[in-house]
């Protein structure tokens, strides 16, 4: 082992195991200077992940002590390997983050962490997305709002290691003690004022061997970058059209490819009646029958669309043929677990609430897409993948290759919202590429997304609460859902971690475990039970910017409003007196004050207020909802208008905040999602298929639904670590809008979104499965 060139004493024994091996003695934080031509440093990705208390009494509930974030962070411990930062001769720091950027801002935040510890400009840090790294095992999943929680310490340790190595190299070069040097803005300056740039030092600081060094991190009080508002690192690329998504990549020979999909959910092709005629269509190069439909490859996507529309396919039915919203709801009702109200005084009042949540499409604006080049002995795929290791495994299985022969490149995604946890497009593209023997650039048509793509499961939530003498004695919740697919790797994490999990999880199935790890009621409501039951595996499901929380919180907060009403209390005052979570209380107080809770409003404009706690943080939302006829009936062409949220104020406590601007962006998006979930966005199941086929059918929040007044309050926090933020804004938002709607109409809605009962469009054809592109675009110039 090499000796460090300066006074930094090593905390390790001479025979310490090499990087990445378990068993390194950590008296404090250890980084590694790796062998290389220029400076290369690394840190163990599991640093900072301390196991939480394993035995959990009840109450408090599980997530207060050990939540999904802890699970993900801790699951990295035994298996995680190194993350690496490289300095180049131009003074740039390079870091390939083993997570996926989908708009949530993690590359920007990671660059800020590196800039902080390395004392260099954020602009000189280049963060890219790592390919699938099988050695990371569980530690390459982007989800559960966990990236900043799990990466905060490892990234800083690696950067601090780099700074130490640069200082030692500078000390040698300048003939000075390290303690006499200062590093600032990418330059090391010696006692005489002589200075060297990081670019100059990158080669000098290179190591011939791997060396372990002890580092200390910049204390919070000295942060100069972390906690400052920072614009996104890819903002210029985004506004100039230079930002590249999967479909913008040029891979030789990968021609546009689309799939003609079945008319019913998860149906399959039996035969094609006109394959040769379609093959002879302009631009078409290949037609191949695969499990999911009939694939066509052509010179342009436009010609793929024409070919998909021309295909005459004999279809086998799907597993939900004949089913509709009502039949699935009936199935859920049958599966609802009974309430077990503990013995309460006979005079106690009871509140019963049952709310239904319809299917929702989690599709992003960038549709499912992937590029695949499958050869006889290897495969390469490019796609937006939040769980690239699972995709790698699944692609290998689908095309019959060893995992090591499958290269998975992770591309920045055009949104995810849970959708890109799954490698559906990557697997399908690989299968098609193999069938055609050619590289393909697969894109799902927009119509394919709501009809065959992942949905948030339909669910019901029942709440029963008992009250006496101004107190809530019991609060029980039974959440019943179509099965949520966790096949993106979270299941493997839980299984592998079984022995480490809190005792309360013993014996629970996967979904129930995740439910228990994420759901908590932040109120002092006596005996609280929250249980999940899931049935029916026939749908293509997944999380949708939060797993259970938006639905669970919506039901809970509606119930809280009703309890307050029964007890003759104001919704805000009632929450303030019963909230046991201090962060939630502070957030609620902040929005009530900033939003003017209880202020005088015109008749027909109503306030709603709600809180949510998750990922060790809290959010509160206050909205004002305009339900006056002139607003509800406002006309926008081909639009669902309806009640409008005219003001939204959200307060968030997400622990230590790396980039408040990024956090505010997440909250704004969360509010937009919440408005859609409460009022407008859902999928209608009818006769075995979903009716929605595009954005003129699926009513995600649009400009005409946006609150003219929006404010986000980032709460100060003393926490030493960041909490989760990506999903935090949704649950309280949907709940606040729902509560405002209930107060405005005097009736608690029993089905969400509230306009689900009105079909606001004429369904597009199922055969052919995609609509023709219009030809009248020039008559709509503006």
């Amino acid at each position: 082992m090499t000796t460090a060139r300066d006074s930094s004493p090593l905390a390790l024994d001479e025979d310490a195991p090499p990087p990445g091996r378990p068993g390194v003695r950590r008296r404090s934080l250890i980084g590694w200077v790796l062998a290389g031509g220029t400076l290369s440093v690394a840190a163990d990705l599991s640093l900072g992940a301390e196991p939480a208390a394993a035995a959990v009494p009840s109450p408090p509930q599980v997530p207060e002590l050990y939540d999904l974030g802890d699970l993900q962070t801790q699951s990295a411990l035994p298996t995680s390997q190194l993350i690496r930062i490289d300095l180049d001769a131009e003074g740039f720091a390079h870091f390939a983050i083993p997570r996926m950027e989908v708009g949530q801002g993690i590359t920007t935040a990671a660059a800020m962490l590196i800039a902080e510890e390395l004392e260099m400009p954020v602009e000189k840090v280049r963060v890219t997305l790592a390919k699938a790294r099988p050695e990371l095992v569980f530690n390459q999943l982007t989800g559960g709002s966990n990236t900043m929680q799990s990466m905060f310490t490892p990234i800083r340790v690696a950067a601090a290691t780099a700074k130490g190595a640069l200082l030692r190299a500078a000390a040698t070069e300048l003939g000075a003690q390290v303690s006499a040097l200062s590093a600032k803005s990418g330059v090391v300056t010696g006692p005489t004022g002589t200075s060297l740039t990081y670019g100059q030092l990158a080669t000098l600081a290179a190591s011939a061997e791997d060396v372990a060094v002890e580092v200390s991190l910049t204390p919070r009080r000295e942060f100069a970058v972390i906690g400052t508002a920072r614009n996104r690192d890819d903002a210029l690329a985004a506004v100039t059209g230079r930002k590249q998504f999967t479909m913008d990549l040029e891979v030789e020979g990968a021609l546009p490819t689309m799939v003609c999909r079945p008319p019913t959910l998860n149906g399959s092709p039996r035969s094609v009646r006109n394959e040769s005629a379609v093959r002879a269509m302009p631009g078409v190069t290949d037609v191949a029958v695969v499990d999911t439909g009939v694939a066509v490859r052509a010179e342009t996507f436009g010609q793929c669309i024409d070919a998909v529309r021309a295909l005459d396919v004999v279809w086998a039915g799907g597993p939900v043929d004949g089913e509709d919203d009502e039949s699935v709801l009936a199935e859920l009702r049958r599966a609802e677990l009974p309430m077990v109200v503990p013995k309460v005084p006979i005079l106690a009042g009871t509140l019963d609430l049952r709310v239904e949540f319809m299917f929702r499409s989690s599709a992003a604006l960038e549709p499912n897409c992937a590029i695949a080049d499958v050869r006889s002995d290897r495969a390469t795929v490019w796609a937006g993948l939040k769980a690239p290791l699972v995709a790698q495994r699944d692609v290998a299985k689908a095309v019959g290759l060893p995992i090591a022969k499958v290269e998975v490149n992770v591309v920045t995604g055009g949104g995810s919202f849970g959708h890109k946890l799954f490698g559906d497009a990557a697997i399908e593209a690989a299968v098609i590429s193999k069938a055609m023997g050619k590289p393909v650039k697969l894109m799902w048509h927009r119509a394919d997304e709501p009809r065959q793509g992942r949905v948030h499961p339909m669910a019901t939530s029942r709440v029963r609460a008992t009250m006496l003498a101004g107190q809530v004695l019991t609060f029980e919740q039974r959440h019943t859902s179509v099965v949520t697919d966790f096949g993106h790797g979270l299941g493997e994490r839980l299984t592998a971690m079984a022995a480490e999990l809190p005792a309360n999880l013993g014996g629970l199935g996967l979904s129930q475990s995740i439910f228990t790890l994420t759901q908590e009621l932040p109120y002092d409501f006596g005996v609280v039970t929250q249980l999940l039951n899931e049935v029916d595996t026939r749908f293509n499901t997944g999380s949708m910017r939060n797993i259970y929380s938006p639905d669970v919180a919506c039901a809970n907060e509606l119930a809280v409003d009703q309890i307050a009403k029964r007890l003759g209390k104001d919704p805000y005052a009632f929450r303030m007196s019963f909230l046991k979570n201090a962060k939630a209380k502070r957030c609620l107080e902040a929005v009530a004050k900033a939003g003017g809770w209880g202020r005088s409003l015109p008749q027909g404009v109503t306030q709603g207020i709600a809180v949510h706690t998750e990922y060790k943080g809290a959010t509160a939302v206050l909205v004002e909802l305009d339900t006056r006829p002139e607003t509800v009936n406002r006309k926008v062409r081909d639009a669902v208008t309806g009640p409008r949220v005219t003001k939204a104020v959200i307060a968030v406590d997400a622990g230590l905040v790396v980039n408040p601007r990024g956090l505010e962006a997440q909250m704004m998006g969360g509010v937009a999602d919440g408005i859609a979930l409460a009022l407008t966005s859902s999928s209608h199941l009818e006769d075995g298929h979903f009716l929605e086929a595009s954005w003129d059918n699926y009513f995600y929040t649009r400009q005409w639904n946006v609150p003219p007044e929006f404010r986000c309050i980032v709460m100060p926090s003393d926490e030493e670590l960041p909490g989760g933020a990506g999903e935090a804004g949704v649950a309280a938002s949907v709940a606040a809008v729902a509560c405002a709607y209930a107060r405005a109409t005097g009736k608690v809605p029993t089905r969400f979104p509230v306009n689900h009962g009105t079909l606001s469009f004429t369904p597009k054809s199922f055969v052919p499965p995609v609509p023709e592109s219009p030809v009248d675009g020039l008559s709509y110039t503006s």
Binding site: T240, R242, T412, G414, A665, W704, F710, P771, S773
Partner: protein, 158 residues
């Protein structure tokens, strides 16, 4: 195969492609101009919004044969050149307010914004809330509030 000649971002181009191929695919798949994005293909999501002869339009719904040699198509890539600058003032406003999140819809949002400002200006007025409410471009990340602020800011800079 038929030939089609039109102008893109200040240059005349000629492509060999069938008459009915929509311009979006001619731009993306033939000319490799990838700023305009696909989001629906039926002129409802507006992710491909670009300009034809200075007005907003959606190339997903225009057969390439509809364009003639004098028609000038401007995509996000060519927007700065329309003001002879490295960035259009609307792009600067977008940067200042850090509007983009995933960024997929943003080229279309910016092109729609520039056309909207020009349109209301031609009508001798300034942007209203109703104008902003009428923007049809979807942003699934929900950046709408920042888009509204940036359009007003960009209008002031234009």
């Amino acid at each position: 195969m038929p030939q089609h000649t039109f102008r893109v971002n200040g240059e005349s181009v000629t492509v060999d492609v069938e008459d009915d191929v929509r311009l979006l695919w001619v731009l993306r798949d033939v000319l490799k101009i990838t700023g305009p994005k696909y989001g629906c293909g039926i002129n409802v999501c507006k992710a491909c919004t670009s300009h034809v002869n200075g007005k907003a339009f959606n190339p997903c719904s225009v057969p390439v044969s509809d364009l003639g040699p004098e028609d000038e198509v401007t995509t996000i890539e060519g927007l700065p050149d329309t003001v002879d600058a490295d960035l259009h003032p609307m792009q600067e406003a977008w940067l200042e307010r850090d509007v983009a999140q995933c960024g997929y819809c943003q080229p279309g949002q910016i092109m729609a914004a520039v056309a909207l400002v020009k349109k209301v200006r031609a009508e001798g007025r300034s942007i209203t809330d109703a104008d902003l409410d009428g923007i049809r471009n979807i942003c699934r990340c929900g950046t709408y509030t920042r888009i509204r602020e940036a359009i007003r800011d960009g209008a002031a800079r234009m």
